[in-house]
Each structure stands twice: as C-alpha cells, then as structure tokens.
C-alpha cells in the first residue's frame, strides 16, 4: 500500500510544464536545532547507559548470575502460566459476560452490567488481596443444595485457594470483565444482514452465533488479545502481594536474602520486557493468517 503511494508520487518531482504557477517538489529543511536536540538526546541516553554499566553499586555479575537461574526461570514460568490461564479464563467467562450484557432479558443484562462495573472498577490489587485472603472469612466451601443438609463435597478454602489459584482467579475474573466488553464490541460490529441471511437459511440463534457471528467477531477480537495478554503479564506482578510465586515474587525473595534489590529488579524487568517483545511478532503472525480470508 505505502509502496504504491510512494511510486505514484515519484513522478511529481518533475515540475509540470506549461501555464499556471510553477510547481516544485517540497523538501523540508532540517533546522540546525533538530541536530542539536537529537545530539543531546543521544548523549543523555549514552550517559545513562554508561552510568548503569559503570555504577559501582550495581553488581552486574549478580544480574548475570541470576537471570538464567532455576528459581527465576521457575518464577518466569509461573508468570507466563498465570497470565495464559487468566487470559483463557477471561475469554471463556468474557463470552458469557458479553452474551449476558446483550441479552434481551433485563435482569440478566443488569447483572452482567453490574459484574463488569464491579470488576473493572475495583483496583486489581484489591481483587488479588480479596481472593488471597478469602480463606480468612470463608474457611470451608460446601458443594450442595442450598438451604438443605445435602452436601456433595466440602473443601478447606485455604487448601483449595493456594496463592497461585487465588492469583489465577483474581486475574481471570478481572480479565473477564474487560474481555466481555471487547467480545461484545466484536459481536455488535457484525452487520445484521449476516444474522438475517443465516436466519433465512433456517439457522437457529445458537448456530448463528457460533458459525456466523463469532468467527467474524474473532477478527475484531483477536488483535486485542495481544494487548490484553501484555496487560495481564504486567498486572500479574501484583501477585507478589499474596506471594503468588511469580517472577517478581521470586526476584524479591532472592533480593531479601542477598540484598541486591536493584540487580534483582533488573532481572525481573529483563524477563517482563522479553515476554512483551515476543507478543507483537506472534500478534503479527496471527493477524496475517486471519487476513488471508479477505484477500
């Protein structure tokens, strides 16, 4: 696309002959100020890097000692698992949230609306602390028929809700509210002629949703999954407040023993940035594959 526009514009460098005002290609002159400011920026950056590299108090060997160490890699794995599970849970629950909000049943759509409002309104850290500490006031979880003595199973909440599970639930629920809105937007972006054509062929609502509307809505939804995933990865660092065992928790635990707080933060930062750097190529790949259908 941009290649074509460039080519199309290229012949314009020859001014047209004939009557009328002269026509010249425009070239912006760089002011000397832009060279100065650019130079200053580069100097500042080099200075900062040099300061980091040469700082007497930063022990780079510590960074290299830990960045590939077992506990850190384990924490990294937990962060990735946690984020992936939370995204998956967000997608599945988000689907129900979206359908609930679009329901013609006002009670259902009001409940779904409240759910979204609540989970998007509460800070993620509050939700994490809530699920991490819920065992304090709901010690046992009973599966059974409400208001009767019939019970199928009973769990100790503290055993069930390990920090990992609590983190997963908190992040997944919060994500479901965001995903719900994204999915709803995707579903509503589909032209109503698509539903009508499907209905005219005798398809029923559920089939229309799964076979016609959702596959098309995915094209609006999938590009935002990458952004959502990077948001969750970053939000998952909050899990350290309930000792979720993630990357940041692990780095902080090690820092607590070796007192190299900065070095360990750099170790964690390195991996967070590495994950984020990997997301966009994957996103590009997926979007490219999806675009094949409207060649």
């Amino acid at each position: 696309m941009s290649d074509q526009t460039l080519q199309a514009k290229a012949p314009m460098t020859e001014p047209p002959t004939g009557e009328g005002p002269a026509f010249f290609p425009v070239q912006r002159e760089r002011s000397s100020w832009s060279y100065v400011s650019g130079g200053i920026a580069v100097l500042v950056l080099l200075g900062a890097l040099y300061g980091l590299a040469a700082n007497q108090h930063l022990k780079w060997p510590v960074f290299f000692q830990y960045v590939l160490s077992g506990p850190i890699l384990n924490g990294l794995l937990i962060t990735i698992e946690l984020s992936a599970f939370a995204l998956a849970m967000g997608l599945v629950l988000g689907m129900f949230v979206a359908l609930g909000r679009m329901s013609s049943n006002t009670v259902i759509s009001a409940i779904a609306g409240f759910y979204v409002w609540l989970l998007r309104g509460l800070p993620a850290i509050v939700q994490l602390l809530f699920w991490g500490n819920i065992g304090l006031f709901v010690p046992t979880l009973v599966l059974g028929v409400p208001f009767t003595d019939i019970t199928f199973a009973e769990f100790r909440v503290n055993q069930l809700l390990t920090p990992f599970v609590a983190s997963f639930i908190a992040l997944g629920l919060a994500e479901s509210a965001y995903m719900g809105e994204i999915i709803r937007g995707g579903l509503q972006s589909i032209d109503k002629g698509q539903r009508e054509a499907a209905a005219a062929l005798g398809m029923r609502r559920t089939r229309i949703l799964w076979r016609i509307v959702l596959p098309q809505a995915m094209r609006a939804i999938v590009p935002s999954l990458g952004n959502q995933f990077s948001n969750i990865v970053k939000a998952s660092a909050l899990v350290s407040v309930i000792a979720g065992g993630d990357l940041l928790t692990t780095a902080q635990n090690i820092a607590g023993q070796n007192y190299r707080v900065m070095e360990m933060l750099f170790v964690a930062s390195f991996w967070y940035l590495a994950i984020l750097a990997l997301i966009s190529p994957v996103q590009h790949f997926v979007e490219k594959r999806m675009r094949r259908m409207d060649r």
Binding site: D191, Q194, A197, M203, R204
Partner: protein, 250 residues
C-alpha cells in the same frame, strides 16, 4: 402455496402494511413494484419472519409460518419450529449477505449440512450443480471478497437454491450492482423463473417484470393498489397512482 391474508405491520406509530393480501401459487413468479418506502421489503421480511406482524396471517401450504392460532389470537412459535418452516423459504438480499469468512462452496453447504443434517458429499455435489447453473463453478474455493457484485449475488442465489426451498424471496437483488453486472443476475433469475421455481421478486427492473413475471403487484403506502398480468399493470394501468409510477420508471 404462499398466502398473505390481511397483514398489518407498524413500526411504532407508522403503519407500513395496511391489510395486505395476496397469494402466490406453486411455480409462479410474482414481482412486487412500487415507490420507495411503500412496504415492499417489509412484506418480504414478514413472510420469512425477519419482522413480526401485528395482525393477519401468512401461510405456506396452508400452515402458519411463525405462529399458532390460540382462539382469535396469534402466538409466536418456539424458535425451533419457526426455523423448521423458514428453511423452506429462501431469501436473496439487496446486499448479498454472503458469509465473508467462508468460501463460496462453504457458503452453499453450511445450512444444508448444519440445518437439514445432510451428508457433506450430498450438499457439496448439489451445491456444485447450482454453482454450475449460475456459471460460477470455477469460483467454488474463492472467498466472497474476491468476487464482483454480480458474482456475489449469483452465489447468494445458489446458496438459497441449495436449501431446495419451496419459494425464494428476492429483495431488490440488482439494486446494489454496477449497471454492467445487472444483466448476469437477471439472466440467472429468468432461467430460474422459467424452470418453475416459485419466486416473489421485489424489483425496480421493469424489463425483468415484463419478461419473467406471471403477475405484477403494485404497492404504495402499505397497500396493494393494483395487481395483474405484467401487460395489464405495466402497459395498461388503471389506477392513477400506478400510471404515475409506471410512467416515472419507464
């Protein structure tokens, strides 16, 4: 085959259909003409229940399509039963409404397999026959975005045909097309009419109505003003409103 009996339909305070009645016999091609906003699309959409009616009865082979009778009132049928009947009524839209995420052939076999429970090979074989009939067998694996408007509409006709409906409704099938694409679609529709397919066609193409219709219905302001053979309605209209309309489009 199709009987529309005193159908009324309002959108809020606006009454769009005022006691519309007509019948279409098996094998007939009926064209509905009339000025913009006269209710032509609405009557088609009521027939296959894309819109509900306020009163009146629409039957296919004597059976109410989307309702059951309870005393003197009509009660909407469950979704499942409506879908069961609507599969016998095909529809071709002005805007094609092909499924863009499916190939041409997938568009054709989706409903026969998913709705009728047909075997894939059966649906594919018949689908290819219909694609051949509309002259697009070589586009079976193309996506809708790769087709011209005329090709899209021919695929949409083949898609409707592949459900083997008893009647097909066309809502201005050529109005969204570039002029050079109109004829290829009308050609397919004429063949279809000649083959004995029951069709109800809302159209502004008077040439098509004259040539292919068994009957022409002129609607204005939600009412049927005049109805008869193409020659009667288009060449010798009796009602002044029909005269004015026919004069304006010819």
């Amino acid at each position: 085959m199709i009987k529309v009996d005193r159908v009324r339909k309002s959108f809020g305070p606006l009454m769009v259909l005022k006691d519309v009645s007509f019948e279409v016999a098996a094998g007939e091609t009926v064209c509905i003409i009339g000025p913009s906003g006269s209710g032509k699309s609405t009557i088609l959409r009521c027939i296959n229940h894309l819109e509900s009616v306020n009163s009146g009865r629409i039957t296919l082979n004597g059976e109410l399509i989307a309702y059951r009778e309870a005393g003197d009132r009509l009660v909407e049928l469950p979704e499942k039963e409506i879908a069961m009947r609507i599969r016998n009524i095909g529809m071709v839209f002005q805007g094609f409404n092909l499924f863009p995420h499916m190939t041409v052939l997938q568009n054709l076999i989706e409903a026969p397999i998913g709705v009728k429970g047909e075997k894939r090979e059966v649906a594919v074989e018949r689908g290819m026959e219909y694609l051949t009939r509309v002259g697009l067998a070589n586009k079976a694996d193309a996506y809708p975005a790769q087709l011209s408007g005329g090709q899209k509409q021919r695929v949409a006709i083949a898609r409707a045909l592949n459900m083997e409906p008893q009647v097909i409704l066309f809502d201005e099938p050529t109005s969204a097309l570039d002029p050079e694409n109109v004829n290829e679609v009308l050609q397919v529709m004429k063949q279809l009419a000649a083959s004995g397919q029951t069709m109800i066609v809302v159209t502004h193409e008077m040439g098509f109505a004259r040539e292919a219709a068994d009957r022409v219905i002129f609607m204005d302001h939600g009412q049927i003003i005049e109805s008869g053979s193409p020659n009667d309605v288009l060449s010798w209209p009796t009602n002044p409103r029909t005269k004015a309309f026919v004069g304006s489009v010819l």
